[in-house]
Amino acid sequence: MLMPAIVWFIIFLYKPMYGLQIAFKDYSIFRGVADSPWTGFEHFETLFSNDQFIRAFWNTIKISALNLLFGFPAPIILALMFNEVINATYKKTAQTIVYLPHFISSVIIAGIVITAFSPSVGIVNTVLGWLGIDPIYFLTKPEWFRPIFVGTGIWQEAGFGSIVFLAAIAGVNPSLYESAVVDGASRWQMMWRITIPSILPTIIIMLIIRIGNVMEVSFELIILLYQPATYETADVVNTFVYRQGLQSGRYDFAAAAGLFNAVVAFVLVMVANTLSRRYSRTSLW
């Protein structure tokens, strides 16, 4: 019963790994993967002297760092706040609404962002207009790309991300709170002295997973939102691979860039797993 899935894995995931050898070859469509001539590390040398690639690499790191800095705490704060809401109906309704954007496709998210930030129609510029500020062409401005992208990420995922932390909070021993109440502690104190320390292991695990995924920025959304004017800050390794390989047909070169990305990602995951195992003995596999 395992075999269909194993065959599937071989055909669709392991065979492309064999195909990765084109990163070290002068790939020709007509010769195919196996018969194209070897070129050694030529593509990697071109890659590391390619300004666009270097830029894409650093953009990936920078966008991930911003995601970590702002996107990571957001669901934790949200979960802690949900935990303080007294009215159950209010809490449930709010949760239902904030989970929703997670289920919306990146094309629609991009459509919403494009409409909302449009210079003529967009609500953002309408509001700026009330304040007497001239319309800003947000999506053509490199300096605005990252704030908009990271902000969109928080808007879309903070709610859904809070589920894990809410579950951790639900698992905190109630007697801790009961004795704190007896001692006359305020809710604010309980949050800092009981809730946060109790969910710290969950926070650390989630942080480690995030670090393991640093090379994975949601490039689908970037493809939908960036344009040549914003490549400077928006282009990441995966979008670079997409343009070079799938749009320009430089398959071997793009595969080399992709391989570099995958190796860095793999190392990060391994490091993250080791850290996780050391910290909590709940390794990721």
């Binding site: 084109i22 904030v98 989970y99 459509g111």
Partner: protein
């Protein structure tokens, strides 16, 4: 646990402030949807002038009329249903038996197969080799290719395997006593006992399929095969780049923006319709996956 009457003054202030902040975040989450809906029902002129804030201005359904008469819209809508239903069934056909086999202690080479599957979560060949592989398999521009090539993923198998492992061995033994074979044990014992977990995975598959866009855009060339998301993307791209559209439609009751908004509304509606039904499963699902990823 939370008891308003036991709260001190400070606690009450804190609770009220938090509730207000939650309310603001909730409104911020909801607002873009309301705004898009308002734009979609506004006249092109009002939208262009930036007059739409909360409710439709110069209420009209012209943008919807523009979309709904396009055969491409309906074709892509139909295709999305095909990909979602076909893809989800295909996924379950692979995932459920594989998860069952991996959950059995008597499976030969169990450690190896677990690693074989989990490894793909941490390393993958990337876009280019995957694409070239699809081409070598003659699955470019193929609806069946889309359904098959994205049917399985390691995470869903592991999630379900974990659930199967938590089912007591005695259930299986009892069924074996009655002479059940592997398939009967899976179908008559494990599947009925695992309804919540299978529902969760089904949900994940449906959502991924409904929203799937990148590979459909890359792999499919024929207009009559593209799903709704790719149609939406095409429309977004042509409308926003097409100044002529904006100019010629200036007097018309719709504009690029109102049409875009109308398509967005049309593609969100099915998600909203099933959302209440799926909500009870995903919270559970997240936690299942987190137990032993």
């Amino acid at each position: 646990m939370l008891n308003w009457n036991l709260y001190s003054r400070g606690d009450k202030v804190f609770a009220i402030v938090v509730s207000i902040l939650i309310g603001m975040f909730t409104i911020a989450t909801l607002y873009p949807f309301i705004y898009i809906a308002a734009v979609s029902f506004s006249s092109g002129f009002a939208a262009q002038a930036g007059k739409v804030v909360l409710t439709p201005i110069e209420l009209t359904t012209e943008a919807y009329k523009y979309i709904l008469v396009q055969p491409e819209f309906w074709i892509s809508y139909r295709n999305t249903f095909i990909y979602t239903i076909g893809g989800t069934i295909m996924s379950l056909l692979f995932i459920v038996p594989a998860a069952y086999a991996l959950s059995r202690p008597q499976l030969m080479g169990r450690r190896f197969f677990n690693l074989f599957i989990a490894f793909t979560m941490w390393f993958n060949a990337g876009l280019i080799p995957f694409y070239l592989n699809m081409r070598d398999l003659n699955l470019l521009d193929s609806m069946f290719g889309i359904i098959l090539a994205f049917a399985v993923n390691a995470f869903n198998i592991i999630l379900l395997r974990n659930f199967f492992e938590s089912i007591p061995q005695s259930f299986e033994e009892a069924a074996r006593m009655d002479g059940a074979n592997d398939f009967q044990v899976l179908w008559k014992v494990f599947v009925p006992l695992s309804k919540p977990a299978i529902a969760t995975i089904t949900l994940f598959c449906i959502v991924a399929r409904w929203n799937g866009f990148f590979w459909a855009m890359v792999l499919l060339q024929s207009e009559e095969k593209i799903p709704l998301q790719v149609f939406l993307r095409h429309t977004l791209a042509t409308l926003s780049d097409d100044d002529e559209f904006a100019i010629t439609q200036l007097e018309a009751a719709y504009s690029a923006e109102t049409v875009t908004a109308a398509i967005i509304v049309c593609s969100i509606i099915p998600v909203l319709l099933v959302y209440p039904w799926i909500q009870k499963y995903f919270e559970k699902g997240i936690l299942l996956g987190g137990v032993k990823e």
